[in-house]
Symmetry: C2
Subunit: 346 residues, 2 copies
DNA sequence: CTGTTAGCGCTTTCAC
DNA sequence: GTGAAAGCGCTAACAG
């Protein structure tokens, strides 16, 4: 029933059955006009009969160009990156390209072999969410194929990249809290070595400067990597002699950890955070979220890549930097202020 | 800086530089012991110097076997499937296999071309979450490569598959609600044409039979496809003359829609549902969830596939069906200061 | 230890 | 309209 090896038909087999040469089969399958209707039909009949499919590997070797692009993300378990992957998929499919997916698990040291492996497989281009700042392997990959960076910028490499408005979004969300009168806003951030971590802290800081408040150093926690560490950091902050009156979290997992900590502590505090997430609207918490279209990052990255592929010959265009816009959404407490919900039904 | 076409070095180039034949280069790169240390070093030097990388496409053509497997999921935006993909990734990487990813978007009619495309690209095997029950294209694919089904079973095809305990999980969760004294449990389900939809309804029904209760037909809503339709259905149920006292939802998106409806309606009702999801523990709702390891579905599927690939020659093993276990987790309403109602409310 | 030959399946080029 | 030859880059099989 399964995969009978040695029985995969080739063009020669099709040709033999249709009483033509392999060359003619090739022409028919390519819709070459210079083939008589009669043989064309015979060939198609033979193709159907044998269940023949062109061997893309052989075509790739002959034609150059595998019809595949590589995508390297840091953590497919994070909805952010799976949406990004979906966006890449979407545009790739539109252009007849297949996506080969790799997951670095945020381990920068594993990234080089993943990238090299993809290059070996003759992907025509790469979209990478770089896990670290050491990027020589990506520079090396760029000598073979175009590389587009997503979500995090290249470190000293001249190539396209797609980012979100990290600074702007963080500043705006923080500003919302400050405008509500908060003067003690805690910062719960991912490692500052990460571009997003640094930029979002910068935005947090800028919002404070704009209103002439100096952030309290005891309220700043960085290096949080997941929901659990964020939860602990939040509980710790809450237990301080001078606790915060609001929280700013730099990503979805950190927001979730903070929210869990508040829940466990039986407290409510206004929370602002980067990234929207499921059910954020039904938590009944005063929530200020920096939302954006994660799919769009992937789509844009794929578009930039496809564009380079289409202009392969000729001078490569100057490298571009695309930014995906953010907007702040606010959810109110159950009976609180903010854009109200519509209690319909019942 | 980018991709200089026409300059990609081949084994011949390396050989020329190292003053050996391409064959010797091939041997060195394969770690063939029959090469003198001297030439070995010269070859490696040349490889480094040119930045040479073996062309996998050419190797695939020569050796047969592309080193890639195909994965087709229905909706990468659903964390369930991205986790599944992650699991596949993980095991594939362990075995030196690359994953080519496709997303059918739950459109059954798009699936055939995706599958065919992957087969054309010479993937060595396929893992598929089938979008529909018409599966001739998968039968056709099976003539080329082994195919493993994930999350949904094959319809009349003899091959491996990995499922969750749909029936058992749904029965158990429903039984929890019934044990709490509920007699009017609503069922909010995905399309019954889907295996999971049918099985989970069966489990819901069985739990009722076990305690001698006949489910009320007016409380059963099927064909829900996303959170929005589930939300509407829930609001509708709540507005009925004889509303339910608890809800059972067949997947994460439906649960979320139902929860949103309850929130908007300002009501609390015990909710049971298939699939765990982020923040389920902090909603302050009486929640009964059928949880399981989605990654594991992907891992198991990949293991079954790899196993078949490793026993390619020789009699193929009989087809296997693996089941990933579920367990029920319960979250309570907030004890003490919560606004929740008693489980048997109304 | 190393090189030569042949061919994986396909398509470009040129001949008929 | 169609076919024969050559070769994409690599490697088994056989020399030497």
């Amino acid at each position: 029933m399964t995969a009978r090896r040695g029985s995969v038909p080739t063009m020669h087999d099709v040709g033999k059955l249709a009483q033509v040469s392999a060359m003619t089969v090739s022409r028919v399958l390519k819709n070459d006009p210079g083939v008589s209707e009669a043989t064309r039909e015979r060939v198609f009949a033979a193709v159907d009969r044998l269940g023949y499919r062109r061997n893309q590997t052989a075509r790739s070797l002959r034609l150059g160009g595998s019809g595949m692009i590589g995508l390297v993300v840091t953590n497919l378990a994070n909805p952010f990156y799976s949406r990004l992957a979906l966006g890449v998929q979407e545009v790739a499919t539109e252009h007849g390209l297949r996506v080969v997916l790799s997951n670095s698990g945020e381990q920068a040291d594993r990234e080089p072999e993943l990238v090299d492996g993809l290059v070996d497989h003759q992907v025509e281009g790469l979209i990478v969410v770089p896990a670290g700042s050491r990027q020589q392997h990506l520079a090396a990959a760029m000598r073979h194929v175009p590389v587009v960076f997503a979500a995090r910028p290249p470190a000293g490499l001249d190539t396209d990249c797609v980012l979100v408005e990290d600074f702007h979004g963080a500043r705006e969300a923080t500003a919302c809290l400050l405008a509500d009168g908060h003067t003690r806003v805690a910062f719960l951030g991912n490692p500052p070595a990460l571009y997003t971590g640094a930029e979002r802290l910068r935005g947090f800081w800028a919002a404070h400067e704009e209103v002439g408040i100096e952030p309290d150093g005891t309220l700043i926690r960085q290096g949080l990597t997941d929901s659990a560490t964020a939860e602990r950091a939040t509980l710790d902050l809450l237990g301080q002699p001078a606790p915060p009156t609001a929280l700013f979290c730099t990503n979805n997992r950190i927001s979730q950890g903070a929210i869990r900590a508040l829940y466990k502590a039986g407290t409510t505090l206004p929370v602002a955070g980067f990234d929207n997430f499921d059910l954020s609207d039904v938590l009944g918490l005063p929530l200020t979220l920096v939302s954006y279209d994660a799919d769009e990052i992937g789509r844009q990255a794929a578009r930039l890549l496809v564009d380079r592929l289409e202009h392969r010959d000729g001078e490569p265009p100057a490298s571009r930097r695309v930014t995906v816009p953010t907007h702040v959404i606010r959810h109110g407490a159950p009976s609180g202020d903010g854009p109200g919900q519509a209690p319909t039904g019942a």
